[in-house]
Amino acid sequence: MRGYVTRRVLALPLIVIAVYTLVFFLARSSPGGPWDPNLPVPQSVIENLRAHYHADEPLIVQYWELAKNIVLEGDLGPSYLAMRRNVSTMIAEALPISLALGAASVGLALIVGVALGVIAAMRRNTSVDYASMGLVMFGISVPPYVITPVLVLVFAIWLPWLPSQGWTGLFSKAAIIPVIALALGPAATVARYARNSVLDVIRLDYVRTAEAKGLPPRVVITRHVLRNALIPIITVAGLYITRTLTHTFYVEYIYGIPGMGRLGVDAVFGRDYPVILGVSLVVAILVAVTNLLVDLTYAWADPRVRLR
């Protein structure tokens, strides 16, 4: 077990280095450059710009220099497009917004998903169960770039209750649509896991005993079933956290939220290499750390999982 943990933790930087390498060369191989002269610009101006950003140096030198700066100073270098601001600063501004959005929607997804799953499991094979699972299938199938505009259409345009775009903080009306749009998918996944694991747990002896003892169903559910049924839900956390990260790209882009997703999409369209690289690295680290934490927790919680 300890060997496994050490190996997994040591593998983390290797993954990050590999991601850095992959993204660096992918981004640099895309056509186009960062400068958009509307009108003729003298060649010497372009040369100066290239020199300023070290774009005139061999790729391998750029690769190494940037890596050095990132590791030693946490400095991702200047952005090409956004005011030549430092990418680290831009990410530092965008990341909290995406994290707030992500945490809120994962939290909402857990609550709604567990509730829905438990209800479906308790009313197994009734219309309530079928309706819940239909809802779940819907949640799993409808992508964020469909649900976000539809929510905007219904709740911001037809019924003008909510803003149709923008970000004014997590505790404002503007956060409702993006949080719901992001929570839908994970909530459905959680509900499915919750239903299955509740059904698994219900069959176990101690639950039957508790029922036989005549404990009221609510007590059985909260005290015996839920507690154990939650474990598998937690262990798939990596799955829906990663998905939420991906979905922020669409939701932030559509809803105009200045988070990591929009930063990434804008950077790709503007060929802002340093930002592309920064966003990818941060996202990759988040994914890797989440997965590691989830795996370790899972292993630790359930000794039946044998890790080599």
Partner: protein, 560 residues
């Protein structure tokens, strides 16, 4: 520890991780909440612009993509910077230049030496006088290769500017700019130029830069709200990146003080599409109207607030005339005539563009609405038949390159459909996202062949030579290469560039227009751009400076 207990602990650990992720996020999002224009519009709420005593105008733009530093202001930051800084002179839409930061100037007889006498009333917003040294600093440090300014090319008319900027010479004192005294600046040119004063009036690198502030800070930190000093009608009071800006009148401004007390600029990802919903929610007093919403706005309750302003932008199709089929003028004219420009401008784009038959777009001196190739759709069919392709038969496969951009995509697809309908020619389309499009153009410039390209060109100064000498160029090797070679045309535009008399100059470019469009039909203009915007009731005086897609606020008045 029992299995059950361990599982519970595990669940707690995950919960703690989620909670930790929530922690800092929540606090920072509340700070993001603070300066948003919607929440700070005066003491009395968000609906009325002048609640309390302050007259507040709520506008929208995007985060400046270049520093708000006069030496580096480009189209990515010009709309904001235009309210903050100003230079020696100003130009009107006809290209007439009048003194502004200078009181007067003299030009030497050989047209090489310009002596500017500065207006001594002009102060920086910290009360320091704007001196000749500030202008000299702008020019010399703006040309420093280490600064890598994207706009330094605007200064190349000055003696040795290009040599210094490209590193050929290293002593900035060799650049033709000299401080005679605090209020007298002397500029020496490489060669006499009829447009030099126009450039001084329109190009940001000729604005002064507050050296005494710049040198206190690293890189661009001096442009942050807490540090910046400006010499224009406004100064920057607050700036939360990617979120909002607040402009307030510059207390030291020498000219008339703006009526508006605060301008709250919301920084949106895409002000064109996101401004309108915010306007409809009464969070803004000004918003651009995107093409997709224009028809609805025109027919809706906001129709009275809708206004249009011209943008000096050319939209049209360029052809590679260096190889068949577009080396044949009849083919080019057939394609020119087959387009129903009215249908595109009014039917597809609802007035966001004006039909254009000419090269120099509306709003630019030299623009001549009489320049056009006359003809009908039948003429177009006849011309194509004469060229050997009756009903489009046998016409070789051709590809049109189009940039992905809402207006350009719609227009290009409309053009393609009309060519297909009128001429029976099926043109393939290749849509390139902006960066790939740019790369394609670089390829064109380095000699790659192409068939057709749908493009736009915006001038940054009211000067007709931009659309001929720079964009078309001599021997068809301009910024957008057409490979069109015609000695008569080349001689004309070279004469235009050298002509010092403004009227004679315009006359030359009129001839060039006729030659380019009516005789040789080298390019296929389709439309010129308009901006559609909404301005809240009671506000007047929103101005759009030349070449900018965003307004300035110094003339704004509010009448309840």
């Amino acid at each position: 520890m029992s299995i059950k207990a361990r599982r519970l602990m595990a669940a707690l650990v995950i919960m703690a991780v989620v909670a930790a992720a929530c922690g800092p996020a929540t606090s920072s999002s509340t700070t993001g909440d603070g300066p948003g224009p919607a929440t700070t519009a005066g003491e009395g709420g968000t609906t009325t612009p002048d609640s309390g005593d302050a007259v507040i105008f709520r506008s929208a733009w995007h985060e400046p993509t270049q520093p708000l530093d006069p030496r580096q202001v480009t189209s990515g930051s010009g709309e904001i910077a235009a309210s903050l800084f100003e230079g020696l002179a100003v130009a009107d839409a006809e290209g007439n230049v009048t003194p502004h930061g200078a009181t007067e100037w003299e030009v030497s007889d050989d047209g090489l030496v310009y002596t500017f006498h500065l207006n001594q009333d002009v102060l920086w917003s910290d009360g320091t006088p704007v001196t000749a040294g500030d202008y000299e600093f702008s020019i010399k440090s703006g040309l420093d290769p280490a600064l890598a300014s994207p706009t330094s090319g605007n200064l190349y008319a000055i003696k040795n500017a290009e040599a210094f900027n490209s590193g050929e010479i290293t002593d900035p004192d060799e650049v033709g700019v000299r401080v005679i005294d605090d209020y007298t600046l002397e500029v020496t040119l490489e060669a006499p130029s009829p447009v030099f004063l126009l450039t001084v009036a329109t190009a940001a690198p000729f604005w002064p830069t507050p050296r005494h502030v710049v040198e206190q800070f690293e890189e661009y930190e001096w442009t942050e709200a807490e540090n910046i000093v400006t010499n224009g009608p406004f100064t920057l009071a607050e700036w939360t990146h990617e979120d909002s800006m607040v402009l307030v009148p510059n207390p030291e401004y020498w000219g008339p003080e703006p009526e508006v007390d605060e301008v709250h600029i919301r920084l949106l990802a895409d002000p064109t599409s996101q401004g309108l919903p915010a306007f409809e929610a009464n969070e803004l007093d000004y918003a651009l109207v995107p093409p997709g919403d224009l028809e609805r706005v025109q027919n809706g309750e906001l129709a009275d607030l809708l206004e249009f302003t011209q943008v000096q932008r050319f939209y049209g199709v360029y052809m590679d005339t260096g190889h068949p089929p577009f080396d044949d003028v009849r083919v080019r004219q057939a394609f020119y005539l087959a387009i129903d420009r009215e249908a595109i401008a009014n039917g597809v784009l609802h007035g966001l563009v004006t039909p254009a038959w000419w090269n120099i777009p509306h709003g630019v001196p030299g623009h001549a609405p009489d320049v056009r190739l006359e003809g009908t759709a039948e003429d177009a069919q006849q011309l194509l038949a004469d060229a050997g392709y009756p009903d489009g038969e046998g016409f070789p496969a051709q590809t049109m390159i189009v940039r992905t951009n809402e207006v350009e995509e719609l227009q290009a697809q409309a053009i393609q459909a009309q060519w297909s309908e009128v001429l029976g020619v099926e043109i393939e389309m290749q849509f390139l996202e902006p960066q790939a499009f740019r790369e394609f153009q670089n390829g064109m410039r380095s000699g790659n062949d192409y068939d057709l390209i749908h493009l736009s060109a915006t001038a940054d100064a009211p000067d007709p030579s931009i659309y001929h000498n720079l964009v078309i160029g001599t021997d068809g090797e301009g910024y957008f290469p057409t490979r069109f070679v015609d000695p008569e045309y080349t001689a004309l535009i070279e004469a235009g560039a050298a002509e010092q008399d403004p009227d004679a100059r315009l006359d030359i470019y009129h001839q060039a227009e006729e030659l380019l469009i009516e005789t040789h039909t080298v390019i296929i203009p389709v439309s010129n751009e308009n901006l559609a915007y909404l301005l809240r009731d009671g506000w007047t005086g929103l101005e759009f400076p030349f070449g900018l897609r965003g307004p300035v606020y110094d003339q704004l008045t509010f009448s309840g």
